[in-house]
Amino acid sequence: MTDLLTVEDLRITYPTRQGPSEVVRGVSFALGRERLGIVGESGSGKSQTGRALLGLTPAPGIATARRLEFDGIDLRQASPATWRALRGIRISMVMQDPKYSLNPVMTIGRQIVEAYRTQKGGAKTAARDRAMAMLEAVQIRDPSRVFNAYPHELSGGMGQRAMLAMMLITEPDLLIADEPTSALDVTVQLEVLAILDRLVADRGMGLIFISHDLRLVSTFCDRVLVMYAGRIVEEVKASDLANARHPYTQGLYTCLPRIEGSQRPLQTLQRDASWAL
């Protein structure tokens, strides 16, 4: 199987008054048409990694890599035109909170139609039909209401589905989902995951699923990268997560409360300075 995406030695640096601060420090991985999870706490560099793959490292941050290739295209020196041809079309990204990633002054329908027509062109009516079909595909019960609604009129789950519809209408090869379900209810979360799962299975899409929720990732993804302080501390097969070797991964796993009853007080994560080295 050829790799869809290859990342070697990705580093992201932000200048600070105390000199440059490296937030991602030598991340390497390869992704096929599979579900890859990236897990870590806030500040571990997982979202920065996701954004760097789309060339969206916010200024003044600088992303460098020894190799950064998507389907044979070198992304390190990509021109703005190359990026335009990739972003939202071949690589899409779903951000955490639909409240901030949707345009508040445009209706959902207009935003989806815009995403579609930018790439495929065509008549408005055709785009509209396609958008409606896509809203249905992400399990929105009343697509015409959502189509004409503004983002503030929708619940978080609805907004995130609309976001997914917008990202998937262009049929990308790679979807980077940055905490796509953290703002959602558990039941809705599973519905959104089921939609993603079907897309990966049916269309052979690659998926990078960034999350802080170890339990969710372990049940959903094929492989999991665990990040701590800008590094990958462990790569495990999702099914083996309970037998993870690194104390950080173990700590993240045992500090979750369990319905069946958990110890009191809950185990907390004892950080070891050597992990960050």
């Binding site: 706490e41 558990v186 339990r215 993240l252 809950l266």
Partner: protein, 258 residues
């Protein structure tokens, strides 16, 4: 003796033709010293119940009694001495341009407490933040530290009842464990009564003795912790929530949409 009695609570937003019944006919009782959980999806009205108790949502029917006394609208200062709320998002609930010191001093000034100095120091120590945090701004704190400040702000008035609206859902799992431990410890030390709203059944099972499951503004069922742990739920919605809490299992539990 029930400390909090809520009977047939209705909350309706909007007016004329354009109304939304956010909470419909919800009743429950919470005994003193108990931790009571409310679980449900977003839009189920679980947070609205808390806001209605606090006087932040329009109660259109039913009664809320604390210590047997129906609450006055608007709530008086005495009410807020006894009942305090911790909000979901510590990034939004702290004033960005007030230092921790000022956040903590304000409720003391409003309620005319003496020796603010020692109370602020004590409140910070209680939530596990040292003296060094006192003159910081919220942006200089991590999410977990902010939520500790929000808890300190609520506890500085020495309330008997704490309303917790998803206190850990904005936090990392490792920080969540610390905040839950903190809340657990404070409850046993001070005999507090909690109403904890969460979408995470595991958090509620850990923290609360009893819980109420809500959907579409209505009560689905009331369970004890033992019933939850034994997965002895009667209603299909609760069973779906239980399945969902195990993570992704390949298929979506079918939910009845009303």
């Amino acid at each position: 003796m029930n400390l909090i009695e809520i009977s047939n609570l209705d909350v309706t937003f909007g007016s004329f033709a354009n109304t939304v019944a956010a909470v419909r006919d919800v009743s429950f009782n919470v005994a003193a010293g108990e931790a009571f959980g409310i679980v449900g999806e977003s839009g189920s009205g679980k947070s609205t119940v808390l806001r209605a108790i606090c006087g932040l949502a329009p109660v259109t029917g039913g009664t809320i009694r604390i210590d047997g006394q129906p609450l006055k609208t608007p709530r008086d200062a005495g009410f807020y001495r006894r009942v305090q709320m911790v909000f979901q998002d510590p990034y939004a609930s702290l004033h960005p341009r007030h230092t921790v010191d000022r956040v903590l001093a304000e409720p003391l000034a409003i309620h005319g407490f003496a020796n603010a100095e020692t109370r602020i120091e004590q409140a910070l120590a209680d939530v596990g933040l040292g003296h060094g945090f006192r003159f910081r701004y919220p942006h200089q704190l991590s999410g977990g530290q902010r939520q500790r400040v929000a808890i300190a702000r609520a506890l500085i008035l020495e309330p008997k009842i704490l309303l917790l609206d998803e206190p850990t859902s904005a936090l990392d799992a490792s920080i969540q464990a610390e905040v839950l431990n903190l809340l657990d410890r404070l409850r046993s030390e001070r005999g507090l009564t909690y109403i904890l709203v969460s979408h995470d059944l595991a958090v509620v099972a850990h923290m609360c003795e009893r819980l109420l499951v809500m959907q579409h503004g209505r009560t689905v069922e009331e369970l004890t912790r033992a019933e939850l742990q034994g997965r002895r739920a009667q209603q299909p919605y609760t069973r779906a929530l239980l399945v969902a809490s195990q993570g992704y299992v390949g298929q979506t539990p079918t939910l009845e949409k009303a």
